[in-house]
Point group: C2
Chain length 301, copies 2
């Protein structure tokens, strides 16, 4: 029996989509004064755009390994996805990567303007820390606080935002393989690591299981980045729904550039095997996470 990843992803992403849509309603939540129309529309443009929802699906599937599948897990996934979406809105700005298209649609600053995109990103980021404190996320306040704090550390200067800074500094500058691995562990690795780790914490997993899922998340992060670099070299803009070849154009060193395509493919295969080994103790309960690892390595967009 093979696992039907496509149906699984559609179902999990559907739950995320429903929850995000509800979080991004026009009407204000308790304690909010109002939700200005232009800003909530820009936030919706940035967050409800048919993304694959990989990060929240990882949260849900990691929690599922430990028996949790309720809507509180979806809320935690949404918090993480809001962080991811804000980072895309800001990364696309002219002052940053200057991208006009994202998943085949105009980026937020193209559909609105730069100021609105800056504010929409800020507000999506802020909303994440509202959502992660939701009572449904976990009955224990201490666990919700831990998830909140770890989310901040994975997203901020010591994680994603710091990695973005290092990446911008990489333009037209030589980077060693170690430097690139370091910046990627921050820029893309930290959130994917958090996704799997948070899922285990949500499921009240043992410390050993939390560490196991943390390592699984690190592998997903490494594999995701290597696969992304390969796609940037090999795929067409049409398949990706955004510009490709951007790294080479920006003069950014990549692991694929330093290691070559064959060594990159070999490392991806080794990562995939380690991922499967890590999931072995969970047997068939890990079918979704195993299939996601395969997907991250073999995806074509």
């Amino acid at each position: 029996m093979t696992f039907d990843l496509k149906s699984h992803l559609a179902a999990q992403a559907g739950r995320i989509e429903t929850a995000l849509t509800s979080l991004l309603k026009e009407t204000e939540r308790d304690g909010e004064i109002s939700r200005p129309e232009r800003l909530i529309n820009a936030m919706r443009h940035g967050a409800l755009n048919g993304g694959k929802r990989l990060r929240p699906v990882l949260v849900m599937d990691a929690a599922g390994l430990f028996g949790r599948a309720d809507d509180g897990v979806v809320q935690a996934g949404c918090a993480l996805e809001l962080i991811h979406c804000y980072s895309l809105v800001h990364d696309d700005l002219p002052a940053m990567d200057d991208d006009d298209l994202r998943r085949g649609q105009p980026t937020v600053h193209k559909a609105y303007d730069d100021a609105t995109a800056i504010l929409a990103g800020d507000a999506l980021l802020t909303l994440a820390f509202d959502v992660i404190t939701d009572e449904a996320v976990h009955p224990e306040a201490g666990i919700r606080l831990r998830l909140c704090r770890e989310l901040a550390r994975a997203s901020g200067i010591g994680g994603m935002a710091g990695g973005q800074m290092l990446d911008l500094e990489s333009e037209h500058r030589d980077r060693s393989e170690a430097e690139i691995r370091h910046l990627q562990s921050m820029k893309t690795g930290a959130l994917l690591r958090y996704a799997c780790r948070a899922g285990a914490i949500l499921g009240d997993a043992s410390d050993a299981d939390v560490e196991r899922l943390t390592r699984f998340g690190e592998i997903i992060g490494l594999a995701f980045q290597l696969a992304d670099d390969l796609l940037d070299v090999e795929a067409s803009p049409e398949a990706m729904g955004k510009a490709t070849g951007k790294d080479a154009e920006a003069g950014k060193a990549t692991l694929v550039g330093l290691m070559g395509i064959d060594r990159t493919r070999a490392e991806l295969q080794a990562l995939l095997e380690e991922a499967h080994d890590l999931m072995a103790p969970y047997g068939s309960k890990a079918a979704a996470l195993n299939a996601l690892a395969d997907y991250v390595v073999t995806r074509s967009n």
Copy 2:
């Protein structure tokens, strides 16, 4: 005996400065991978710049009313100040207010570049939600969560960020007095309201006292904005350390513009009286908050 506000402000702001400096060290915190040098320097530039620290001082003095003066209150104040500082870094960007000077110094995007300023703001915002979860803030996890969530709602689309959006939309557009009051309650009011309210919550104040301090914070917000509008009309750029007359130049309607200087001054006086009335039950313990209310109304920069 008159209250020595100048010494008081210097002492309270000094505690905030020390704590912020510690939060913005070059070395990473637990769970952070590294703190890239350029980004932490830009964050320090945006946050350690001799600000008056009005918001955190309000947190500390409101908590002081209920007997709390420990470093946990300073941490909570820092979280709020990090939000305020991020908003200034982003507001100064060319795509927003396009300001070159802030407190007489180059703004972050002038000292670094636009991309770094965007990331520095993002990282300051994110750090705020790490800091507010600090165990020292309050022994009860549930209270820390409440403070975290209320901070998110005061700062995000339903508060400060939303108000900033409405303010940008006000350029070259007529606004009624009610519309301006609404946007100001979001843009500047929400954080000042939060400051006083959070202080009461930190001090385990009764619900009635929390509501009293919340109203006090609303008055501070209204008075702060009216005084700011008056300064924008009347003060010199030298006294303010930044450009003045910007509202008129941007074609933004202000309350002073609609109400005239005399009616504005009269409203300020009435607000001040209400503030003092609210503090009356606390007697001499409210000396600092009473003096702060006076200061907000009479400040010259």
